[in-house]
């Protein structure tokens, strides 16, 4: 299988000489095309920093991150912007939809900034809307939608450009359990049908149980790795709970 993301011995330090905090301390892992990988860890473990580094929002102190064959740690500022636009898709906890635009326009924006053709834009939006079951809300504004609908529109926006890698930061963080399930179901579907590669940060065990593989991070290091294999989601969920208990902290978030 070909490699979409490969993280090689990255470190990220904050602070200066006398007082250094290692937010990421020598992390390496690889994600293959079509994989759905979860990253879990308690608050302050470095998982958001890791995601920021991968998503080119932040830079690493040492090490390399290669996405789809390109080493993003050596890219220039201008190229980084274009890289982010063309190769990455983002899904955020707080949706980050533009409140002045309709769902359709929000999704279209991801394509227009890539200077796609008008006919193409309409075709892509209709296709992705169907998959995510949001065709009927396309003409609505964010304030007229439910949280779940908003997050699915945001997901459509991230997926419509067919990026190499989709980065999801606590995608279910602001959703109730029913909406979360609906969203994760569509993630699963998209992952299967389009072979989308998804890297998802969460501290919710239920959300994580949808992934194929989970990396646990604590104090900036990879603490454990769980592979779902042939487990049912229920079995996988139980295994996750065990690790989380072992990790300590954030236990309340499990339920």
């Amino acid at each position: 299988m070909n490699n979409i993301l490969s993280v090689e011995k990255i470190e990220k330090y904050y602070g200066n000489k006398g007082n250094i905090t290692k937010a990421i301390d020598n992390i390496s892992f690889k994600v293959d095309k079509g994989e759905f990988v979860g990253i879990m860890g308690p608050s302050g473990s470095g998982k958001t920093t890791l995601l920021n580094c991968i998503s080119t929002i932040d830079t690493v102190t040492t090490g390399h991150i290669v996405i789809n064959g390109q080493d993003i740690t050596t890219l220039k500022a201008k190229n980084i912007e274009e890289f982010r636009r063309d190769e990455l898709g983002f899904i955020f906890q707080d949706f980050n939809l533009l409140d002045t635009l309709t769902a359709y326009e929000n999704i279209a924006l991801a394509l227009t900034i890539q200077k796609r053709k008008v006919i193409e834009i309409d075709k892509f939006i209709k296709k992705i809307a169907e998959k995510l079951e949001i065709t009927e809300v396309l003409k609505k504004y964010p304030f007229q939608m439910s949280g779940g609908q908003k997050q699915r529109v945001a997901s459509a926006r991230a997926l419509v450009t067919e990026p190499s890698l989709i980065l999801a930061d606590e995608p279910t963080g602001a959703l109730d359990s029913k909406s979360s399930r609906l969203l994760l179901d569509s993630f699963e579907k998209l992952n299967k049908e389009f072979q989308s590669t998804i890297l998802m940060v969460t501290h919710d065990a239920f959300t994580a149980s949808y992934a194929h593989r989970i990396l646990f991070i604590k104090d900036g290091r990879i603490f454990n790795e769980l592979i779902r294999g042939r487990d049912t989601r229920k079995e996988f969920f139980n295994k996750i709970i065990e690790v989380v208990t072992l990790l300590g902290g954030d236990i309340g978030d499990v339920f």
Binding site: R85, N96, D99, T100, E105, L109, A110, F143
Partner: protein
């Protein structure tokens, strides 16, 4: 402790609210400059009457300043309100930390005092510099010479500026207290999480209203072009009302109409960030259509005001051309058969006028001929021109003067005399400024028939110098006839021109104008019409009115322009910081900085250009209407005045636009 917070806030505000400081400083600077006019007297070389005029001008400016203070006060209060709103969250955090509202008020008071003091001081310093330039302008406008350059600081203007702006700042403080006391903590903390209310637009309605507004504006234009500047006519008022309502409806419907149109064109709509930019602007104009209307009308008013001012100046400047060849003139008119005194010499003796050796006088008689100007030019006059003549009372009998007297007048001016044979006449006139008829006449005709005798016209173009000094009427038309002229002549006036010569022209001028004052107050001979002028009186009458108009126009014009541009800038900046989350979202989904900057530029451009564009269209119509009044004199004026007005617009309006664009970019860039 509180002053420390306040000082830090002010320091930060300097960067964030640059526009606010600029506006305050600008306001103080303009206010000081125009109120310092009184102090400029000292540096100008002026006679008594000009000094009196300067105090009139000063009173006028002082009156206008009260009006200006209201506008600037409103502007400052508006701007300040923006800043307080912006800082709700910060103030809310102070309160959660246990600070009482009273203490927060104290911080705000210290801030206002600091900001006020800084802008007042910088504004006055700038004002002192600007007023030096203004006094050169005053000197030029009044045609007085500057003997020696003096650096002037008007203490009274400093005090006045400090007083007026002090009052404004105190009012702002009171306003702040009221705003603060009304706020609830929860609203203050959640201020940034406001719920955007998006008005759903009804496409049909906006299209109907838009076309209605266009129809109203066109109607208003047509009406005003027909009616002209008849302030008493009801139709004039109707067209003004239609214009205002049309403008209001235009801005009310514009953005919805526009977005509906653009949405139809998917190629434009789905390009780069166009969706975002259009929605942003749409929202903004929708909520601010009222202030857009006011700003558009203000800019329109400014442009027309400045244009009117230039027109006035242009027409007055021409009025004086060729009319001030002598230091003084006095004329006695013969209106009645049984007039007691029919000769100026006799009259002067009665009035006990003392002739001085060092002053040169030249006496002359003005006669009326048996033919009128209409008779002379009838073939070449259009209907409208005939009407103009009648309206200006110049269609009566033609004036004439004998060549020997004309020659002595020329001599007084230091020009060489002219010889005229028995069959020749000279045409002295500036009528070609009023119409083409005279030029065509001079080209086509070589002779004039007076009382059945044919005279050859000696000159090919009219001589454009008057035989008297006068500011009372622009146009003159004389025939210079030979001394042996045999036709009928009726004496119209007798008078003399005077040159004060080297000795002490100032003293002579004062004596002569005092004498003119005396005779105008003389009761015994009041039935006799005697009119006199000195060059300074004429200058004052003409340049004085110009100066007043120019000063008022420039003063109000600048204030209007600054106010409108500042309001637009503040609205745009507050919109940018309200939309910071949107820009953050854009960045997160991978929009490049270049595209974001372009989007900001587009928004600012649209926001600044829309009211300006409509105002310019309004102004073109306004200029046409005003130009009709000054039509006789304005041929070359439109170009130069438009250039000056555009320059003022470009500097002030463009300056605010640029500052807004740079600030907006910085706000977005620093938001990470």
């Amino acid at each position: 402790m509180f002053s420390k917070i306040a000082i830090n806030n002010v320091k930060r505000s300097f960067k964030d609210y640059f526009i606010y400081f600029i506006t305050l400083t600008f306001a103080v600077c303009i206010f000081y400059s125009f109120n310092s006019i009184e102090a400029q007297n000292s540096m100008l070389e002026m006679g008594k009457s000009t000094t009196e005029f300067m105090s009139t001008l000063n009173t006028l400016i002082a009156g206008a300043s009260v009006f200006v203070a209201f506008i600037l006060g409103g502007l400052i209060a508006y701007a300040n309100n923006f800043l307080i709103k912006k800082r709700k969250r910060e103030l809310g955090i102070y309160m959660t930390l246990g600070m009482s509202k009273g203490k927060i008020s104290r911080i705000l008071i210290i801030e206002t005092i600091l900001i006020g003091l800084i802008s007042l001081i910088i504004g006055i310093v700038l004002g002192i510099i600007v007023s030096q330039g203004l006094s050169i302008l005053t000197a030029k406008l009044l045609a007085v010479s500057i003997n020696q350059y003096k650096f002037i600081i008007s203490v009274s203007a400093v005090i006045k500026s400090a007083l007026y702006f002090g009052i404004i700042f105190i009012l702002v403080m009171i306003l702040n207290q009221r705003t603060i006391s009304k706020y609830k903590l929860i609203d203050m903390l959640n201020a940034s999480k406001r719920n955007e209310k998006i008005k759903l637009n009804n496409p049909l309605l906006s299209i109907v209203v838009f076309f209605l507004s266009i129809a109203m504006l066109v109607g208003a234009y047509i009406l005003i072009l027909k009616v002209g500047l008849e302030t008493e006519s009801i139709l004039f008022l109707v067209s003004i009302m239609m214009g205002i309502i049309g403008t209001l409806l235009f801005f009310f419907s514009l953005s919805n109409f526009f977005i509906n149109i653009v949405q139809k064109n998917r190629k434009v709509y789905f390009k780069n960030l166009n969706i975002f930019v259009l929605r942003q602007v749409n929202n903004k104009i929708n909520t601010n259509f009222l202030s857009m209307t006011v700003i558009c009308l203000m800019i329109f008013l400014t442009i027309t005001l400045l244009f009117t001012m230039f027109s006035f100046k242009g027409s007055y400047d021409k009025m004086i051309k060729g009319n001030t060849s002598f230091d003084g003139t006095i004329q006695l008119f013969i209106n009645q058969e049984d007039q007691k005194v029919k000769d100026i010499k006799e009259y002067m003796d009665i009035m006990d006028f003392k002739y001085n050796d060092y002053e040169k006088q030249m006496f002359f008689n003005e006669y009326k001929l048996n033919i009128t100007i209409n008779d002379l030019l009838s073939e070449y006059l259009t209907k409208q021109e005939k009407k103009d003549f009648a309206e200006n009372y110049i269609d009566g009998p033609m004036s004439t003067i004998k060549v020997s007297e004309y020659n002595s007048i020329l001599e007084l001016k230091g020009q060489s005399p002219i010889t005229l044979s028995e069959e020749e006449v000279l045409v002295v006139s500036n009528y070609e400024q009023m119409n083409n008829a005279l030029s065509i006449f001079m080209e086509n005709e070589d002779t004039i028939n007076i009382d059945n005798k044919i005279f050859t016209i000696k000159n090919e173009v009219p001589i454009k110098e008057n035989i008297v000094t006068t500011g009372s009427y622009l146009n003159f038309f004389y025939l210079v006839v030979p001394d042996q002229f045999s036709g009928e002549l009726s004496l119209y006036s007798t008078g003399f021109n005077i040159m004060f010569e080297e000795n002490d022209p100032k003293q002579s001028e004062e004596t002569f104008s005092n004498f003119l004052n005396e005779i105008s107050e003389n009761v015994e001979y009041s039935s006799i019409e005697v009119i006199g002028n000195t060059i300074e009186l004429v200058h004052l009458r003409v340049y004085g009115s110009t100066t007043m108009i120019v000063f008022l126009g420039v003063y109000l014009g600048i204030v209007f322009l600054v106010s409108s541009a500042a309001v637009l800038a503040l609205q745009q900046l507050s919109d940018i910081s309200d939309s910071l989350d949107r820009y953050k979202s854009l960045k997160k989904i991978g929009v490049t900085n270049k595209l974001i900057n372009k989007a900001i530029l587009q928004q600012n451009l649209i926001y600044f250009m829309i009211p300006l564009s409509l105002a310019i269209i309004h102004s073109i119509v306004g200029m046409i209407v005003i130009n009709k009044i000054f039509s006789a004199y304005n041929s070359s004026l439109i170009g130069s005045s438009s250039l000056t007005i555009s320059l003022a617009l470009a500097i002030i309006y463009g300056g605010y636009f640029y500052a807004t664009y740079v600030s907006s970019k910085n706000i977005v860039r620093n938001s990470n």
